[in-house]
Amino acid sequence: MKNKIFTEPVLKNAENLGFFEMLAPPEDISANGHLIDWLFNYTTSMNIFFFVLVCIGLFGFSYLYHNKRHPKPYYTYGNKKAHIIIATVVGIAVFLCIDLMITGFSNRDYTGVFINWPDESKEDVVRVQVLGQQWAWNFRQAGKDGVFNTQDDIVTLNDLRVPANKKVVFQILSKDVIHSLYFPNARRKTDAIPGRVTRMWIEFIKPGTYDIACAEMCGTYHYRMKAKLTVYEEEDFSHYLTEAQQISSAVNDPEDGQIYWGWKWTSASSSKKIGMNK
């Protein structure tokens, strides 16, 4: 007897895809996801280079020095200087060509972009507070009053709607266990931890609907902690905001304690920047 619950959504697109399309990461709809993709590809090309060298050595030597083909081994006693030099040169070459390069690129992107919080006093950002719980995502956007945790807040369950081409700053918290807010189409995730607010900012650039997932084991239904991201064009977003506002003002009951899980928004740019060379 097959239990229907487990055979949920069926194959959608795989049949029509080419082999490489099947392997590609999800479509990148963010302004800065390409930095991560680029670094991944750079690391891959370096890795391929060195791994091919290893394989040439491995398979080549196995072939050339098979005991039937090469009966007399080359004997060396002790630790020859030449050997030490070769090994050290290889070690340093790998470190300089791969490790330092990717560290440099990563640091540049990390401090320059990913933790370079937009200055909220100067830029127009969209602020979202996220509360992860077992097993759903709650999103809160401040209403017209611009203050979080008031009656006109737009509070949604598993439904995040943001405009394109504007920086969206998230403050993330969990109600119970550790979750992780994961935007595969933006290449980003940040843990949602109980008792501590974590932060992330992303600029989405392509309108459409996309997945949001939970990327930290959080219990039995971790696998279906799915939320929907809708990226709107500017005007559509203002329509949405107005509409959602009206609904929330009507529906949100100031006496209902459950809805007011939000917190006071402190912008990152107003707090001290530790460890960044600014």
Partner: protein, 574 residues
């Protein structure tokens, strides 16, 4: 230089003193080997159940599904799935790899390779095995509790692993089992380190020890230092669960005070990162030796390999934060962990060079231990290089908690260590049990395992690159993972092939241990380390006379030697 000579004890006669309560390191090593193989089977079965669910969601698991999961008609239910991946990870790391590589081969090889009659502390050795048995019983027992075994991942992050996320006693038993195993392994570690320092045969300096002993000794150092940290973390978790403390509770659950769930992550990974090096160091040492033995020439840069392993041991203590890049530690700390993680590439590259240099201009014999060692070089190359993506902060922001991580650590831990363990089993079978395993079937085992292994773990890296996150019961709920279904199915089929290939090994192993008539010679591999100077299988006292060491462990191919192409460590250098 041995600090003292151990005397020859009389041979044990009763069944209990020979097989159950034995002080003999060789017997204890074999006990760990059987123990590890049993758990390898249990963990492997769980892996197949996981893979089955991922490729064929909703379908009943073949043969045993309907007995285990009658309510769902044989398909794995979601909460059991969580328990399966938790137990699979825990069992494979602590109850399969650790007992086989460290418990079995550590115990068996160290005294023999050093020219000693037993470990420094034989009673402690025996206690270490029996504690491991108790730990295994605690863990397996947790499966039969009403709410089931631990289901929060082998990393058991709070607050999921506190009473908030895991109300049952299973998680407490898990924590207790890990603590007890930690005590067992720490005992073993102390034993190995003391034996290496005090019981090396006269004439054996540290650099005359085989690299296998280097690997096992460095593992023991890491074990001795960091298992207590794990023990502390897990003990605090037990306190939170049983005594109402709040070390790791925060948020709504912290009603009587608050702690920090991320603190557990720090404590766990301070142990957890060295742990992965603990698991791989013995395999590195074994492979370094076997490559030399089967190329019939000295290990290229043996001293450099030993020092590289030592520097990795030290560096591994400084990099644990790369498991926590998404928890928003301070940016400076995050970047520092990235840079330190990168430095581990240097010693790794050094011993890859040394491995290839050992093959270079050798005269290679492709017996099964050699095939598996070459396999380790291949899979560890792949696995190690994929670690680079994860050590880099920005690429890790995408790849963290996806199948890419799973593919990476399986390549480095499962593939490399498993292949290393098989190499060791095929190699030391004569010394352990007096027979050689069947070469033909060993080679078949090798090729099918390599095929299956690469299919599984490379498939995992591909789906991880595609963004599929881990620990999910049915990934196809999401749009972005829909196109990854064919790769998942391919991975599952590879896993099934790999799983069945192990039957070849088990049959070969059991046959060689119990049923083979033809006995192996004293030194079938024609190699000079001290364990091959004594009869096969090794007599209970190991060495009638303590050997005096006169040359290194890799004296092969010296043209001045006549009659054979290697020298025993007891012979003067030709």
């Amino acid at each position: 230089m041995a600090f003292y000579e151990q005397h020859i004890h009389p041979k044990p006669t009763t069944f209990l003193s020979k097989y159950i309560f034995s002080f003999d390191h060789k017997v204890i090593g074999k006990q760990f080997l059987w123990y590890g193989i049993l758990f390898l089977f249990v963990g492997g079965l769980m892996a197949l159940m996981i893979r089955w669910t991922l490729a064929f969601p909703g379908q009943p698991f073949p043969v045993i599904g309907s007995y285990l999961f009658p309510e769902t008609g044989g398909a794995v239910p979601p909460d059991t799935y969580a328990m399966l991946f938790t137990m699979h990870g825990t069992i494979m790391i602590f109850y399969a790899i650790t007992p086989i590589l460290i418990g079995a081969f550590g115990n068996f090889c160290i005294p023999l390779m050093l020219g000693a009659r037993d470990m420094a502390f034989p009673l402690l050795n025996m206690l270490s095995f029996h504690l491991a048995v108790i730990s295994g019983l605690l863990l397996m027992g947790s499966l039969f509790t009403p709410l089931g075994a631990a289901a929060g991942g082998w990393t058991s992050y709070p607050t999921l692993s506190t009473l908030i996320g895991s109300p049952g006693v299973g998680q407490t038993l898990w924590s207790l089992a890990i603590f007890v195993l930690g005590v067992s392994s720490t005992m073993g570690a102390v034993n190995y380190i003391t034996t290496i320092i005090t019981l090396r045969a006269p004439g054996m300096g540290y650099f005359d020890m085989p690299l296998t002993v280097w690997g096992l000794g460095l593992t023991a150092v890491l074990n001795a230092i960091f298992l207590p940290v794990l023990g502390a973390g897990v003990l605090l978790l037990i306190f939170d669960r049983v005594f109402g403390t709040t070390f790791f509770l925060a948020g709504a659950a912290a009603t009587t005070g608050t702690g920090d769930p991320v603190l557990f992550q720090h404590v766990f990974w301070i142990f957890g990162h060295p742990e992965v090096y603990i698991l791989i160091l013995p395999a590195w040492g074994i492979v370094s030796d076997l490559l030399s033995f089967f190329s019939r020439k000295p290990a290229f840069g043996a001293k450099a390999t030993a020092l590289a392993m030592t520097s990795i041991t030290i560096l591994s203590t400084l990099v644990y934060g790369h498991h926590m890049f998404t928890t928003q530690m301070s940016p400076l700390l995050t970047q520092t962990f990235m840079t330190l993680t990168m430095t581990i590439s240097i010693p790794s590259a050094i011993f890859f060079t040394n491995w290839l240099g050992t093959l270079w201009k050798g005269s290679i014999r492709f017996h099964s231990p050699m095939l598996f060692s070459l396999g380790v070089v291949f899979v560890f190359g792949l696995g190690g290089l994929t670690g680079l993506y994860l050590g880099t902060v920005t690429t890790d922001l995408y790849l963290h908690d996806t199948y890419f991580v799973v593919g990476h650590f399986h390549y480095t831990m499962a593939a490399s260590v498993l292949l290393g363990g098989f190499a060791a089993t095929y190699f030391w079978m004569p010394k352990m049990f007096g027979t050689l395993m069947n070469e033909f079937w060993a080679k078949i085992h090798f090729w099918i395992t390599m095929l299956g292994l690469n299919g599984v773990f490379f498939g995992m890296m591909l789906v991880g690159y595609g963004g599929m996150h881990r620990r999910i019961y049915n990934p196809f709920i999401y749009e972005f993972t829909q196109k990854l279904i064919p790769i998942n199915t391919f991975t599952t089929w590879s896993a099934i092939v790999m799983g069945f290939a192990q039957i070849i090994f088990v049959v070969n192993f059991v046959h060689a241990v119990f049923f083979k008539k033809q006995k192996a010679g004293d030194n079938p591999w024609e190699v000079g380390t001290l364990e091959w100077t004594i009869p096969s299988p090794a007599p209970h006292y190991n060495f009638k006379e303590i050997p005096v060491v006169k040359c290194g462990p890799h004296e092969l191919g010296n043209p001045n030697v006549s009659g054979k192409d290697f020298q025993y460590q007891t012979e003067e250098l030709a």
